[in-house]
């Protein structure tokens, strides 16, 4: 069997340099947008007192979920003995750290008072799942950094499995914690369900794989590395499985909601007559982000890297649509203020809130994604993350 070696990204592709500059520009624009939002106040965004979490949160939660899911390959490699996944384990860890950092940057920069980050780090309310997430997120970055170090240091090989196990458990808790942020909102019909945590775990697995496909195939192509057909096949089936899992849980979520009398309004709104939300749900998430990529991942005719990347990109777009519907649609629908009463008129009570994301919000979200990508493309130039030969290593368990 071939021995796997890792190397830094060789040569300076024109594509690479263009990408680098593009990312730097996008991050710059994101920072300007964040500064604008902070100095002017949030009136420059589409958010208001009803839709209080907007597009930045869609991006942030997307990045956080993907971060956890991107670690799949490393976990399989070192915890579940999937030695043929080993060539990609380091990249997988790198993605986890960078995506999470990008997501956190967006979350922090969207705060009303981003300058009070220190307050957030020093004052904790331990009954708040949000506060716990601060620990989970920072801890995750730390754990994965250690994991990467262990993977990259020959003398530390013996610890790969145990550190990998810690990272695996950590990320499952982290994604449940992210789901629990919504699960705690008991008064909001859209989120008031125990399915939120498992759903977020599955979304993270599926989104993480999608981001992993796009970045890995691109980087490996630059580096002249070809995924073995077996490994590629396994990962494609895994991706399909995760997407199906998400579709299943989403179906379960909506079906149970339909049986709850009070939740029928929100269900109708999100799935049937809520304007942009049903479109995003059915076309964006179910069709583009679900059925089609599952088909492409399972059908051998679509097994070329180009198709795989396309399918993965569709999962990403579908995931963003899904998060948009969940996060924003869930707030746009009015609360039941008083049991037994309809709110007839009032200052924006009992009405659907029309949220239109503003440019600064979009720029901030894209800036966060760009930050994650920039960290990846720079890291692979500095440290040996990329595998150089293909092939599987039976019996090896060191990834």
């Amino acid at each position: 069997m071939d021995k796997i070696r890792f190397q830094v990204l060789a040569g300076t592709h024109t594509g690479y340099r263009l990408l680098l500059w593009l990312l730097i520009i996008l991050i710059g624009i994101g920072l300007i947008a964040a500064h604008h939002m902070e100095s002017q106040g949030h009136w420059v965004t589409g958010m208001d007192n009803r839709v209080v979490w907007g597009l930045p949160h869609v991006f942030a939660i997307f990045l956080i979920l993907s971060a956890s899911g991107a670690l799949n390959t490393a976990s399989i490699s070192s915890v579940f003995g999937g030695s043929d996944y080993q060539p990609l384990a380091r990249l997988s860890g790198l993605l986890a750290v960078t995506l999470l950092t990008g997501g956190l940057a967006v979350l922090v920069l969207d705060l009303g008072r981003p300058d009070r980050l220190v307050v957030a780090m020093t004052y904790y309310n331990f009954s708040s799942v949000f506060a716990w997430n601060v620990f989970l997120y920072t801890g995750f970055v730390l754990v994965v950094l250690i994991y990467l170090w262990v993977m990259m240091t020959p003398q530390m090989r013996g610890y790969v499995r145990s550190v990998g196990m810690v990272a695996l458990i950590w990320r499952l808790i982290l994604t449940s914690g992210t789901g629990a942020i919504f699960g705690f909102l008991v008064a909001r019909d859209a989120y008031d369900t125990a399915i939120m945590a498992p759903l977020f775990i599955l979304m993270s697995l599926s989104l993480g794989m999608a981001v992993f496909w796009v970045s890995t195939l691109t980087l490996c192509r630059w580096n002249g590395y070809l995924l073995s057909p077996e490994l590629s096949g396994k990962l494609r089936r895994l991706s399909a499985l995760f997407i199906l899992g998400v579709l299943y849980l989403v179906a379960l979520h909506h079906l149970t909601n339909l049986y709850m009398a009070h939740h029928q309004g929100i269900e109708r709104f999100l799935l049937v007559d809520g304007g942009v939300y049903p479109w995003l749900f059915w076309l964006g998430f179910v069709l583009c982000g679900g059925i089609v990529p599952v088909w492409w991942f399972l059908d051998r005719r679509f097994s070329t890297p180009a198709w795989t990347v396309t399918a993965a990109l569709m999962v990403i777009v579908g995931g963003l649509c899904h998060l948009y519907v969940t996060i924003i649609g869930g707030q746009a629908y009015p609360l039941r203020l008083v049991s037994g009463y309809r709110v007839d008129s009032g200052f924006y009570d009992g009405e659907i809130t029309h949220y239109l994301p503003s440019l600064p919000e979009l720029a901030l979200g894209i800036g966060g994604v760009s930050l994650a990508l920039l960290m990846i493309v720079v890291a692979v130039r500095i440290l040996p993350f990329l595998p150089t030969v293909t092939g599987s290593l039976p019996g090896s368990n060191q990834g």
Binding site: W43, N49, R113, Y123, N125, V134, V186, L335, G346, D349
Partner: protein, 246 residues
């Protein structure tokens, strides 16, 4: 975690000379200090549970006396963008789903005994005082808006832009969240909240304020003798604001 209830009590707002104290402290005044500072020897006590009883039968459609009084008291200026205006108290028109009867009620922070906003707040900026008032410490609020997501009544507002002309006893700040303080600065000086006062002055008397734990208080007596309810009893929040005739 901060627990404002454990902080040293400071005499900012003594019963006498409160005005001078306020002027002197205005620039760096902390709401959390204000609310704790009833008197050095007289901290907010859990023997008291401040509450409001709203009589929907007396509240009339179109009347906004309580809303205006609140806006004046706390200098809640309009932003020029309706959707972003601060709403510490608002009027809501309701229609009974069973018989189409309509009524009008003021809606503000319900000062929940188990407040979801306090439970979720990451920094502890949202807190409940021993006497049941739910408040926001403007100095530790990071503006994450999680409390707004959690509040079942949309009772909180986010300050979307720079504020001017704020009152020293009611600090506000861009990028932080705010809501009804039950006029803590008045209550700690043995006065009633501005909305209650204005409703009485206008002759409606739809709002009664007092100590729910004090059997002799008017609110307690009325609450005992007349049926009343929480707006969302299913959520078991045990709110400090109760409604009659709803």
């Amino acid at each position: 975690m901060t627990n404002p209830e454990n902080k040293p009590r400071r005499r900012f707002l003594g019963r006498t000379g409160a005005g001078t104290a306020l002027l002197a402290l205005a620039p760096g005044v902390r709401l959390v200090d204000l609310v704790l500072a009833k008197d050095e020897d007289e901290p907010a006590s859990d023997e008291t549970r401040w509450g409001l009883l709203v009589d929907a039968n007396r509240c009339t459609t179109g009347c906004r006396a309580c809303v205006s009084a609140c806006e004046d008291e706390h200098a809640l200026a309009k932003t020029g963008r309706n959707r972003l205006d601060p709403q510490w108290i608002r009027k809501v028109e309701l229609v009974d789903e069973s018989n189409d009867r309509s009524l009008s009620i003021p809606l503000m922070c319900q000062h929940c005994e188990d407040p979801p906003c306090v439970e979720v707040c990451p920094t502890g900026a949202s807190f409940k005082r021993a006497d049941g008032m739910v408040l926001v410490d403007k100095h530790t609020c990071i503006g994450c808006r999680y409390c707004m997501m959690a509040c079942p009544f949309n009772a909180r507002s986010f300050v979307h832009e720079e504020v001017t002309g704020q009152k020293s006893y009611s600090p506000r700040g861009k990028g932080t969240v705010e809501s009804c303080t039950l006029c803590v600065h008045r209550v700690d000086n043995d006065r009633t909240p501005a909305c209650v006062e204005s409703c009485a002055v206008d002759g409606h008397g739809a709002l009664a304020f007092g100590d729910l734990n004090d059997a002799e208080s008017t609110v307690s007596k009325t609450a005992r003798s007349q049926p009343h309810r929480e707006l969302r009893p299913d959520l078991a929040l045990n709110t400090g604001v109760r409604y009659r005739g709803v």
